[in-house]
């Protein structure tokens, strides 16, 4: 149970006084500090003339950059220093490159047992024909989880910095600055016709890249970027009114959060079982078919969803500041 003070008692406590000061009801310094009102500034004719002269000398001597000697000297020194710095940097970098092992050498440090195991046992253990996807989404899936969260954080940062709310100060001015959206769609026939043919193809290619990430080149990130680019093309061609019918801030939130949650759930199943590295209950399937390689397909779809939503959100936030 909370202690309940009476109003008069509460006003005498520290928090009560602080609250009063916060609300501007009382001023603790009133009457205790000497307070003087400021005098109106006046200057005599002599002072004014002196001030004007000083101003002129400033303009003619100190700020007359092309004629100022110090400025010229500084410019020369600056150029010399920058050239020297660049030379030193070039020398250091070239020396660093010369110490690198030659490309394609057999006994360079990268050729150790780790990559050997990936190449030899990768297909067996992950079930992915594309060894790169097998690596990034099975052996090193936690890295990819972190990367997806970095994208999510970037979206949040862009939202915080660029979002324009209806009740934020200067909202009308900002909206006027982004006024080109009021003229949309611009009804550019070439753009619209091209978009009509290209956007479905881009979407299908992106979905193909995501779904076949474990069979051939591609994966969640590249496929998601392709779909995001397709969305941006559709938006530029047909305007916000059409895209807002299927993609709003709510859609973006649901897509990102559910995809990230799904990824985390899928990838942390070993923790729920006590981190004892028991075999995954999801069968690996026959390598080469689309429903194979365990969780990789699901993880690819999750990453693709996050990336495409992020790309589109970036564009909308930069363009308009609001969904």
């Amino acid at each position: 149970m909370s202690r309940h003070l009476k109003n008069e008692e509460y006003e005498k406590t520290f928090s009560g006084k602080f609250r009063q000061w916060l609300n501007g009801e009382s001023d603790p310094f009133l009457g205790k500090v000497e307070q003087k009102s400021q005098k109106e500034q006046r200057e005599s004719r002599k002072q004014a003339r002196k001030r004007r002269q000083e101003h002129e000398t400033l303009l003619t001597e100190a700020y007359n950059l092309p004629k100022s000697r110090t400025f010229k000297l500084f410019g020369k020194a600056y150029g010399l220093a920058s050239v020297l710095f660049a030379m030193v940097l070039i020398v250091v970098l070239v020396m660093a490159v010369s110490y690198l092992p030659t490309f394609g050498e057999a006994d360079k440090p990268i050729n150790n047992e780790v990559s050997e195991r990936y190449i030899e046992k990768g297909l067996e253990e992950t079930g992915a024909v594309n060894i790169v996807t097998g690596m990034i989404l099975d052996y090193r899936a936690f890295d990819t989880l972190g990367e997806s969260h970095v994208l999510f954080l970037a979206t949040i940062a862009v939202l915080v910095l660029l979002r324009v709310d209806d009740d934020s100060p200067g909202h009308e001015i900002l909206m006027e600055q982004a006024a080109d959206r009021f003229h949309e769609p611009k009804n550019d026939i070439i753009l619209q016709t091209a978009a009509k043919f290209l956007v479905p193809i881009i979407f299908i290619f992106g979905i193909y890249v995501i779904l076949c990430g474990h069979l051939g080149p591609g994966g969640g990130f590249s496929g998601g970027a392709i779909i995001g680019a397709g969305l941006i093309l559709y938006l530029t061609a047909f305007g916000f009114n059409k895209t807002e019918r299927f993609f709003t801030a709510k859609t973006q939130k649901i897509m990102s959060v559910s995809a990230l949650g799904c990824y985390s759930l899928c990838k942390s199943y070993s923790f729920y079982t006590g981190a004892n590295h028991i075999e995954s209950i999801i069968p690996l399937g026959i390598p080469g078919t689309i429903l194979s390689s365990g969780l990789i397909l699901i993880l690819n779809i999750c990453v693709g969803v996050v990336v495409s939503a992020t790309m589109y959100t970036f564009y909308v936030m930069f363009r308009k500041g609001n969904f």
Binding site: S222, A225, G228, Y315, R319
Partner: protein, 99 residues
Amino acid sequence: MTVVMLILLGFLVVCAIATSFAKNLLNTILIFMSYSLIMSVIWMVLESPDLAITEAAVGAGVTTVLFLITLKKIKSIIEEEDDDEEDSEEEVNEQTSEK
């Protein structure tokens, strides 16, 4: 293949230098986009199609678009306004400054 590779690498160097030396920011972005395209072809030649797809989609596509909107936001691209007077004034100013 080495000849193709050498030509591509030469283009890459030229693009990289031109990116920093172009005076117009819009040109810089376009050159940077061509840099990304050449880079994706090089990834293709180096037998890593995964990276090539990502480079083409992110480097040449989305990054360029984001750069372009940013330029528009900070009003670095001089747009063709509907008001003819302002436009002509700006053009005159540009011409005089160029001379």
